[in-house]
């Protein structure tokens, strides 16, 4: 399910980068007082080690365990999300498994969607028994995550297959393999429930984060679709073009349309970006200097 570099359009990759950073950043802030660094590190290493097990399936082939739902059930969704993000970052930076530009999308699918969906499915079904709930959580979590990967790939114009192919292929295949994920998740949770059931009693996450992160997950394909539609241009320009309006420039500015007249558009954009950054830096230093000099007086 790891998407490599080159498969996603940059606009889609960027959207998922931002969404992932928001959820991951919120999770880190929420857990900052817990002194959980070693827990994240060790559980990430444990998930990584467990992912290396090759589970035999009838027919001579084998499948791997992903562990997103399990991480959510064992650690809670926020710590589970951070742990899975660590696993995926190591896989990107050490094993080249998943691309650098696709890091946001991969973490979104396997550390956000898989973990949060798995956790909340488990919570919703817990009253029917922990083993049953964890089986469904493991199965549904991985299948939904795969469907999200299919949506991201299908929306990207760089990847020639459309949504009608990518979503069913990813979704159906992982719905079948997801049964194994569900069985292993159920085995692990069932065992822990008999030995250390206190570990499975994670506190509720609160309604506001649940609603906000749930909305972000549900709406993320819409964001990706809109990013692809808007592309690199201004949304207002697209609207104007759609309505057939004509541009009437009042003041072209020093760097019209982020270019430098007379220069190649790419180099012009690069230089105007550098000039913009320089201006922001200078203004920031000026404000800081003014603030500190006022403090001293």
């Amino acid at each position: 399910m790891h998407i490599p570099d080159g498969y996603l359009d940059l606009t889609i990759a960027l959207i998922f980068f931002v969404l992932t950073l928001v959820v991951l950043g919120y999770s880190l802030v929420k857990l900052r007082h817990g002194k959980l660094t070693s827990l994240f590190g060790i559980i990430s290493a444990a998930i990584f080690a467990a992912q290396m097990l090759n589970w035999p399936i009838p027919g001579g082939t084998s499948a791997h365990f992903v562990g997103g739902s399990l991480a959510g059930i064992l650690l809670g969704p926020f710590a589970g999300c951070v742990s899975m993000a660590i696993v995926l970052t190591i896989q990107t930076l050490v094993f080249n498994d998943g691309g650098i530009t696709a890091w946001g999308a991969n973490v979104w699918n396997m550390a956000v969607v898989n973990v949060f969906v798995g956790y909340y499915v488990y919570k919703a079904l817990q009253r029917f028994g922990k083993t049953f709930a964890s089986f469904i959580a493991g199965w549904i979590g991985i299948t939904i995550a795969a469907i999200f990967a299919g949506i991201e790939l299908g929306l990207s114009t760089s990847f020639a297959y459309g949504l009608s192919i990518t979503v069913p292929v990813m979704g159906l295949w992982h719905a079948i393999l997801g049964v194994i994920e569900g069985v292993i998740t159920a085995g692990v949770v069932g065992y822990i429930a008999t030995r250390r059931s206190d570990l499975l009693e994670k506190g509720e996450t609160g309604k506001v984060p649940f609603v906000l992160i749930g909305l972000m997950i549900v709406l993320s394909p819409v964001f990706a679709y809109l990013a692809e539609e808007v592309g690199y241009s201004e949304p207002l320009e697209n609207v104007a073009e759609f309505l057939g309006l004509e541009e009437n420039t009042i003041n072209p500015g020093l760097l019209p349309d982020y270019t430098i007249p007379g220069l190649d558009p790419y180099i012009g954009t690069l230089l105007s970006g550098a000039i913009g950054v320089l201006i922001v830096f200078l203004l920031s230093f000026a404000v800081k200097y003014a603030h500190s000099s006022r403090k001293n007086t």
Partner: protein, 243 residues
């Protein structure tokens, strides 16, 4: 259970070889370059590769990476051993378009190939501690980077742990087991493994609190080698833009 063990060990032995990449005997110039510079350069190369389908730009980038690899002394043979499989996989994925759009199939594979080369240049020449240190100095949250470093260091130990648990259970088995039984017993074994891991993390946290431990960020000044590398990357970027 023995099928689970055998398949896992066979697969893992090739997987773990990646951990010992820093033990190459021949060390070229690229190993000496600051990890921050290499990390940012890698992102730049990947961005250049995935933002175009123009053959001339992609071929220029591929040629430039080959020149850098040759000059800085990274083994091309070892690099291709690591990337050929996924490049071939990407080609197979888009092979249905071979007859209708040959150019797309080739350029798509080329984009993936260049991205893989760029990332492998970083992976094969940079110690993971240096990479964590670089991430820290690039303002990635300390708790995340620290956990990343712990996870990396403990992976082999924990893998040995899980294999020991599976071996112990296998040695006590007396009857032949079905696939369902393997999954069930395997799930229990992994459950025990996670329990042990959580307890290990509690002990580690206490040890860290008592002795104190954090990643020391190496903020060395960029030397001549780093500045030269930055200049080369900037030159490639500008040339790529002007093509």
């Amino acid at each position: 259970m023995h099928i689970l063990l055998e398949k896992t060990l066979r697969n893992a032995s090739s997987y773990f070889q990646n951990f010992f990449i820093h033990e190459y005997k021949t060390r070229g110039l690229i190993y000496e370059i600051d990890a921050r510079v290499k990390f940012i350069s890698t992102i730049v190369f990947v961005l250049l590769a995935v933002s175009t389908f123009e053959p001339i730009k992609l071929l220029f980038l591929l040629f430039s990476l080959f020149v850098i690899l040759k000059i800085l002394g990274l083994s091309l043979k070892k690099l291709f051993q690591r990337i050929w499989l996924f490049t071939a996989f990407s080609f197979i994925v888009v092979s249905p378009f071979l007859f209708s759009n040959l150019q797309y199939s080739l350029l798509f594979t080329l984009r993936v190939l260049i991205s893989l080369i760029a990332v492998q240049m970083l992976v094969m020449s940079t110690n993971f501690y240096d990479l964590c240190s670089a991430l820290s100095s690039l303002r990635i949250p300390e708790s995340f980077v620290h956990a990343l470093w712990i996870a990396y260091r403990y992976t082999i130990l924990l893998f040995q742990d899980i294999i020991n648990i599976l071996l112990a259970r296998e040695s006590r088995r007396v009857a032949k087991t079905s696939h369902r039984e393997i999954w069930k017993k395997g799930g229990e074994a992994v459950g025990l493994f996670f329990l042990r891991s959580i307890e290990r993390s509690e002990r580690l946290q206490l040890a860290m609190v008592s002795r104190g431990e954090k990643i020391v960020v190496q903020k060395t000044k960029l030397g001549f080698l780093e500045i030269s590398y930055i200049a080369i990357v900037a030159f490639i970027v500008l040339w790529w833009i002007s093509l």
